[in-house]
Symmetry: C2
Subunit: 228 residues, 2 copies
């Protein structure tokens, strides 16, 4: 039985969530400076908890902070997208290796639910919700490994990937392909997971990620410097 800790979150967590949402929703532009006082007014809190929240977001890779120069929303180069995709892929591989002869059947339920949701979204052509459901699907696959650090690292990377999509850096691949084919690939993945053979899942996963890779890597020739 999973424990529902039920602890009221501190202002730090609330602020971090709020700013995270703003960034991922595109309300804060690429490289935009985050003025602390302005944010305290918007959120109705004072600076100490806000600053702690910014530290959290900094560690998550969503913002960049330079001493005495404030924080800015992370700017993503092609190199960054490449890093995010490769790292995500490596983490998913580990998850499959550790989790795929599935030990805890209940965990599969979450993945199945997410997949059903994806199919619903695909039929409704609701791309926004499809992305969310896809996020849950992949997260639930990673959760199969029962590996807390892996889950956290994956969540962080996935979040940055959402940021890519908010910037349309990664949109083509995920948004403009055939929606039902997209879901079908995920269905196949889940089938293989349920079958319980790690190798075949890894193979499918490689195909799954390949198109992202090839599409991005062709752009990597024009690597911009991460720090300007």
């Amino acid at each position: 039985m999973t424990e529902h800790q039920l602890e009221s979150p501190s202002l730090v967590q609330l602020a971090a969530n709020a700013i995270r949402r703003m960034i991922l929703a595109g309300e804060l532009a690429e490289g935009e400076r985050l003025i602390e006082e302005r944010l305290t007014e918007q959120l109705g809190i004072s600076r100490p908890p806000l600053r702690e929240a910014l530290r959290v977001l900094e560690q998550e890779g969503l913002i960049v902070t330079k001493p005495r120069r404030g924080s800015t929303v992370a700017t993503l180069t092609d190199q960054d997208v490449f890093e995010i995709l490769t790292l995500r892929s490596a983490l998913e591989r580990l998850a499959v290796e550790l989790g795929v002869p599935v030990q805890v059947p209940e965990r599969l339920k979450v993945a199945q639910d997410a997949l059903l949701e994806m199919e619903r979204c695909a039929s409704a052509e609701d791309r926004g919700s499809l992305v969310q459901a896809g996020y849950r699907f992949h997260s639930s696959l990673v959760a199969l490994a029962g590996h807390r650090r892996l889950e956290e690292a994956y969540a962080s990377v996935q979040q940055q990937l959402l940021l890519c999509m908010a910037r349309n850096l990664y949109a083509r691949e995920h948004f403009y392909e055939d929606l039902h084919e997209h879901v079908a690939r995920h269905r196949k993945l889940l089938d293989l997971v349920e079958a319980g053979d790690p190798a075949s899942v890894l193979a499918e996963l490689a195909v799954h990620g390949e198109r992202s890779f090839s599409e991005i890597q062709s752009n990597v020739g024009s690597r911009e410097a991460s720090s300007s």
Copy 2:
């Protein structure tokens, strides 16, 4: 040419470094509560920057913070050690896959230097310095990939591994084997990297990590709960 940014660190960074050192040096015990006011006296700073530093360490996985209940030094179960080792292995694999036909020869120099240092330490039987040099060696291998996020994730995991060793949770494997054999394995690894064949490096890396795994996984049967 690498940029020497030369920016004076804030109290937050200094405090985070100081506390990190204290934890890794074992000056703060397993699960010990971190009283904010006490730390402010020790470090000679006030609470706001200290609290930001604690947020940083929390994200790094060295401390655990519960709302309104303060922070404690992370306690590591066998499950945690297992997670750290598997995650580290996965990250190293990615690094090799991306970096091994070495693109930037200068980066190899760091690894070579670290290896020489390791050999010196092994001859002098200086186990403490050997661990440090080993840390630099592995970090430099990961750096071959030119993948910032990978390096950061790896540094975080490596740090937690140092914490394991400070607790003697992982000590047997690294400390009590033959020191020269230990260094020889690293030498072989570097040779393979220089040869430029990713597959052989990965194979050696698997052997490299295998003994850690088998040793730990036998203990995992007695998995304690992560959250007590």
